[in-house]
Amino acid sequence: MTTDKGLRLGEVAFGLAVLALGVFIAFETWTMPVVGAATTVGPRLFPGLIAAGLILVGLWLQLEAVTTGPVDAEGIEIDWPAFSLVASGLLLQIVLLETLGWIVAGTLLFVMTARAFGSRRYLANILIGVALTALTLLVFDLGLDLELPIGSLFEPLLDAIRK
């Protein structure tokens, strides 16, 4: 997926996505239960307008993709493996955050992103990742009273130390 063709596909897909979102909102609005007294303008008018707007723009984009083609005719190359590495790093962080905690999940994200940008110095990256996440945890949890999770796995351990 490098050239003109890929981008044109992208444009069509984008137009379809906008269209689909419009249809979805229209459907949800249609089936939305209306509670309370019938006011002049209920909670359904704006969603309806926005759905209509999305559908029209979606169609317009299709038309544009077919007739004029992509604005950037050169097309651009995408390094999909690097992209997937970053995207899955973020997903892993979501899955692991509350059990393994901010430091482990964050460090993993750090190392995976660094790898996606071509860095293979795993040891250095792990150290920086741990330092950065530990520092933010300390500053935010102790200094600013926010709660970055320590991780449910480590909490019993921490309690044991405190005792």
């Binding site: 992208g10 690097a82 996606a116 990256n125 935010f140």
Partner: protein, 498 residues
Amino acid sequence: MDTLSALLHGFSVALTPYNLMWSAIGVTLGTAIGVLPGIGPALTVALLLPVTYNLDPTSAFIMFAGIFYGAMYGGSTTSILLNTPGESASIVTALDGHAMARKGRGAQALATAAIGSFVAGTIATVALTFVAPLMVRVALAFGPAEYFALMVLALTTVTAVLGDSLPRGLASLFFGLALGLVGIDLQTGQARFALGVPELLDGIDVVVVAVGLFAVGETLYNAARHRYEPEELYDLKGSKWMSREDWARSWKPWLRGTLIGFPIGALPAGGSEIPTFLSYLTEKRLSKHPEEFGHGAIEAVAGPEAANNASAAGVLAPLLSLGLPTSATAAIMLAAFQQYGLQPGPLLFENNSSLVWGLIASLYIGNVLLLVLNLPMAGVWVKLLAIPRPWLYAGILIFATMGAYTLNNNLVDLVILWVIGLIGFGMRVLDIPVAPCIVGLILGPMAEQQFRRALAISQGDLSVFVTHPISLGLLLTALLLVVVPVLLRRRRAKHITA
């Protein structure tokens, strides 16, 4: 005189050592984060939001003012030395600024940008001081119908005037408006589009969307592209000072840039892209050396940078006095106000005058601090540009996810961040503007409320929007802004084919 005494009161608030400290921290953090490639002012403000959670509102907004101006200064350093403008307003600076850096005149480009920003920022802040109270007076005459028309105008200009494709801008706008629908309808308590997820009942946070589009989307894009796009970083060398000729060629563009930037920024239709382009074109036309433009003309850095900073101050006028954000950065500032339970607008000037005037006074102070911070310390900021890219982007993601998670301490925000990040990547690849989405997300629900309020008052009579003269005028302006460029483009196209 009223304004002056209010401003003096503002200074007495902003100049207390405690608030002065937050202002200094704000400008330093703002510059440091704003300098990092790929991070524009909007993202800088969004990423630094969590830092202010525990401050009282006045200190928090004094710090914000510092972050906001600091990020503007930092952004110009990046576009000059690295040619990666953090947001569209610095694209123009990057043209000649980077050309100057390539010729070994990076230090002079930075200097004219910094001093120009100082001059423009200061003059524009003075203008803001006097324009904001006037706008407040106008705003007092506004009812729901006028507010609704004003929001339509702002949404139209953000969408139609920027970028070269109307359907793309509209797609981004409607996507933002759709995101804004999620949550409990304020008037009826009806849950909309929450998909059965209780965390969605509070709506989707603007900060999560901004961080997702700018930080996550940008990182994904750069991860996918870094192999194909080598960067050139030019270090500072030679004399660090501007020569007499540099000064002579810079001062007029500074003033002209300010003159162009502030009014356009202050219009409820604002933005900073148009004034920077206008300033560039003006300087090119007036210059004795138009052939140098594009190859490192100092006027082409001085003018647009001044225009950029002046419009940034201008954008604060409708934000503070009408509660109307006209840029992505302003949208995030508005979200910050809302987080403190404050609604910018005439009432804010009435009820929280220490906060408003403290904020405005701290803009003056921030500008001075930034000049001091930027001229002698330019070398330090340049070091930040040299951070290895793997660490830079990995670090950006750490801070982005931290910011999203700590908003409400739940994973749902991280999931939203991920989804929006992927969408942001797609938008970046397909060259779809991001600002309409963010402004739409925050203005959409506000516009809906005003619309329904107006109709409740008029008992369902739709004609209120056209029988109120101010409302009618605003709506007509919005219509013209959409129609005229389309007609012009069509005429131009005809000329080319004919």
